[in-house]
Symmetry: C2
Subunit: 569 residues, 2 copies
């Protein structure tokens, strides 16, 4: 029981020196690798860079205690940072103390919501984010984040949370391009793209093992950060107008207490829900994928608690909303992390940096961070997936397209809400006009298929109608129309058999419709039968009067209905 | 084409003296019968009584031209009046000119929305109001309306749009009971209940034919109105403090133009949607039921246009939102109406009353109208339906109970919104955790059923898993879990056959899950097969790479999968 809520108890008793060594190495690598992205994502959210470091310390400790994934690395991530910025921009001015306060409140609410959902075992909620909607959302967010970084790369100001606003703002300031900044930004960008495309192959060609080559290739951003920081420091670029990270307060994360302000909390509630859900989906997909690789399991509901704890820790230590990050998790996994202890080591590492080494980051150009974000984020843009979805299903594609379009022109919240509502709406619409087919016997078998697709035996006085959907309120009336139209078109009909092999549910509305159909057919001298009614559906029908009222019978199989009704003839 | 949009053209050419005679008689009877309820429902909506008369003239003409039901009678109805009052109470003070103006705007918006939905063929929207939600809503509204009339019956003031507010307001003024009003109210109430319970039987006992007796029994409210008006006039009850209808302006309906006020329109948008949908559902259910009795058909989409036209007519002639009414339609039908021409005759009749005879209504006590409403409305309260739903399905019952509860304590809008959202949510939740069953062969047949419910043949190296639900985003992950758990629990397994007889859809998310299952089973040395994939689902799979990647085969029937996989052994 205790183990369920404190998963650390499942692995800590078996912890040994071998695991410790592997985790320590992974922790050190993660520390070095994630510092640039932690700073960058804090800036992306409109927060001081140091907030990204604070959010990479205590939240990791909380996740180590509570999380079920062995390799997930928690911290600020791009999408959540973007959504955080959009949410906070609606309630306070970037740079103001209220903005910082709101970030803490957002972490607190998000932590509370995730924890509560976990304790109530509501992980299934995320099932309603369909894959096309998530893929569309990530693609559009990738474009949006890249657009938001363009200003930093060009050294001009640009603001906004939609592509339209960003592009307009960029165009308006296009005459103010700051060339030294652009040089740093474009140089870093080209270097990072090069390393990502050919880094591993090149390193392997000079004799490194594939795994070491892969790890070093991932260190591209670290190298870019070190080199451009040295360049900026050596040439005094900050004095020439190149934006740098600047002074970062040295010291451990402060103890912060999010303020209680009912109006603020209420305005942040909807963004909180979306940030929590999106963060959870990103994290849990990542966790499941990696757990499967090592044949481990994660528990989605306990993951909610783990991420909830991490966000609560962020709220009380000057942080920002966090989740399991794509790139930092891959780094952790590739660096050989064995248990969540690696996260604890990384937390200690980042703590040391924050405590003592922040002056080294003073001259780090913002443009370098922007290049890091841009290269990392463009992997989210998944055009093949868009094409594939178009080919497979126009309905899924339309939900995806709406998500992409709205995310780009209206912002992340509108995009994801419309995507979810549309995908649910389309599903309901589809089920409200169910496919049905008249079936006939495939000669010589007991198998019955659609008379329009297969050569079948039929009889003019018997209609075998297969209903390809659960019967519920949204399609109850449609069913009535279908049956009445069938009976009207075939005057010689004596028996209608509804084949219920695909009917997984008959709700109270559909039951009323069946009653109505039964009564109407009786008036026309047609007998209504059912066939292949499943156990759970039959159990429920027994609780109603329908089985007493039905004019015909309930057959176990279509074949027995067919034999019986043909024999009677 | 023209006939589709002007259904009058389908019956007017065949109109003859016999039909005309029947319609004229029905028109006269309806005129007399509906005057009290038209006045009463206007008062229920917080509007002057005459508005109810205006809303019973031009809207009837519009519906005669545009509607497809031969017998539906349009006008102010109780539920819509209640919802109108709740909506207007939110934007203006009852009795103020703004309140009257808002009523016109509500009619205009409702008319526009219904017409638009009709032209866009969106009648299917109402399918999402499930029967239990509608029944629950009507039951709670009946109670709510009865509570709202209690003040009029007792001669004390009471206000509010929730049962809680009404009861508190009644209790606060209980010491002000006006005894003469109570005498009129209680007397009318007892008389009306008596007539409704035993009127027809008594009249038949004195020798009247059943149909005439039924019609006369329905005239109870008219008799109550005539008698109490005479009593009030004779004893000068108005001077003694009994509320009466008072002066009603004489004359034809005025030409009114609803104002355009963006803020007001926006605030009325949601109420408009609900009023339109509820009104349409009430009207179309009534219309379909009566059409079925005479083997006629109505077209739901054209009905939207017809009701839309009626509401637009109300907006421009000083009226209020209207729809096809339960009681007035039954009166019309029983009185022998043959075509919508009966509605035209009723419109002329009510027009004559409004033009010349309103002084006769001066002394009509409000308490009599309240008694009329109360008796009429309590037929909406359907307790057996509540019990029946409880017995049949806890899930449908919970949507119904939430609708009833919220309608009573939070008002009509909250009630219906929560009912709809909950019934959709419960359906999605159910489909997100689909039933599945391992099936085996029923010996000697080609039929396969659940191994836990039937005696079946099985094979240890083959698992036949029947999935009882369409596969879509909400249950894609659940499917993965089910299959992985199955494989993990049976190490000797070599083949998994997913039987898709109940799978009516595989969306893009589920396709990804199938891909993942296929890959994961391949790693474990298990072959994945499909069986009984339906035509439309198969067509779609052919547009993906899945059929190339699947390790096993797609079998036409479960039996062929079974024979083939057992033979190979």
């Amino acid at each position: 029981m205790l183990k369920r809520y404190l998963p650390i108890l499942t692995w800590l008793p078996h912890y040994n020196r071998r695991l410790g060594g592997a985790d320590l190495l992974a922790g050190i690598i993660v520390t070095i690798m994630v510092i640039p992205q932690s700073l960058a994502y804090a800036l992306l959210a409109g927060l001081p860079a140091v907030v990204g470091l604070y959010a990479s310390i205590l939240p990791l400790v909380a996740y180590t205690l509570l999380g079920t994934s062995r390799t997930l690395a928690v911290g600020p991530v791009a999408i959540i940072a973007l959504m955080t910025g959009a949410a906070l921009g609606g309630v306070a001015a970037p740079g103001s103390p209220e903005y910082l306060q709101a970030a803490l409140v957002l972490s607190l609410l998000s932590g509370g919501m995730l924890t509560l959902m976990g304790l109530l075992r509501m992980g299934f909620f995320t099932n309603f984010l369909s894959h096309p909607v998530i893929a569309g959302f990530l693609t559009a967010s990738g474009i949006l984040i890249a657009a938001s970084q363009a200003g930093h790369l060009l050294g001009i100001e640009s603001n906004g949370y939609t592509v339209v606003a960003l592009v307009m703002s960029l165009v308006a300031h296009l005459d103010e391009i700051h060339w030294p900044t652009l040089a740093i930004g474009a140089g870093s960008l080209l270097f990072l793209v090069g390393v990502r495309r050919r880094g591993k192959a090149t390193l392997m060609r000079v004799g490194l093992s594939p795994s070491l080559a892969a790890l070093l290739a991932r260190a591209g951003p670290v190298l870019a950060v070190v080199v451009t920081t040295l360049v900026a420091w050596h040439f005094g670029l900050a004095e020439r107008g190149v934006a740098v990270v600047g002074d970062i307060p040295r010291g451990l994360p402060p103890l912060t207490v999010p303020i209680f302000d009912a109006a603020l909390w209420q305005r942040l509630l909807m963004p909180t829900l979306l940030i929590s859900l999106v963060g959870f989906v990103e994290s849990v997909s990542m966790g499941q994928m990696l757990a499967a690789k090592r044949r481990q399991r994660i528990s989605p509901n306990q993951e909610l608690v783990g991420l909830g704890g991490a966000n609560l820790a962020a709220a009380f230590s000057g942080g920002m909303p966090v989740t399991g990050g794509l790139s930092r998790t891959v780094i952790n996994f590739d660096a050989g992390a064995q248990t969540p202890m690696a996260g604890l080591f990384a937390a200690v590492g980042i703590g040391i940096v924050t405590f003592a080494l922040t002056p080294l980051l003073h001259h780090l150009p913002i443009a370098t961070l922007a290049a890091t974000i841009t290269v990392a984020i463009l992997t989210l843009v998944d055009i093949p997936m868009v094409r594939q979805t178009w080919r497979y299903s126009r309905s899924d594609f339309s939900a995806m397209a709406a998500t992409i379009l709205l995310t780009l022109v209206e912002g992340v919240e509108a995009g994801i809400i419309v995507g979810v509502v549309l995908s649910i709406g389309l599903f309901l619409y589809r089920t409200s006009r169910p496919h049905s087919a008249l079936v006939g016997r495939i000669p010589g078998t007991e198998h019955f298929r659609n008379i329009e697709r297969h050569d079948t035996e039929t009889a003019s006085h018997v209609a075998l109608l297969r209903i390809d959907e659960s019967l519920y309120f949204a399609n109850a009336r449609y069913l009535e129309d279908t049956v009445y139209a069938l009976v009207a078109s075939r005057p010689e009909l004596e028996h209608v058999v509804l084949i219920c092999s695909a009917v997984n549910l008959i709700d109270a509305s559909a039951l009323e419709s069946l009653d109505a159909i039964n009564a109407r057919l009786k008036d026309s001298g047609v007998t209504l039968h059912l066939a292949e009614v499943k156990g759970p559906v039959m159990d429920r029908l027994k609780n109603s009067d329908f089985l007493d009222d039905i004019t015909g019978r309930v057959f176990l199989s279509t074949f027995s209905a067919w034999s019986e009704l043909n024999r009677r003839q």
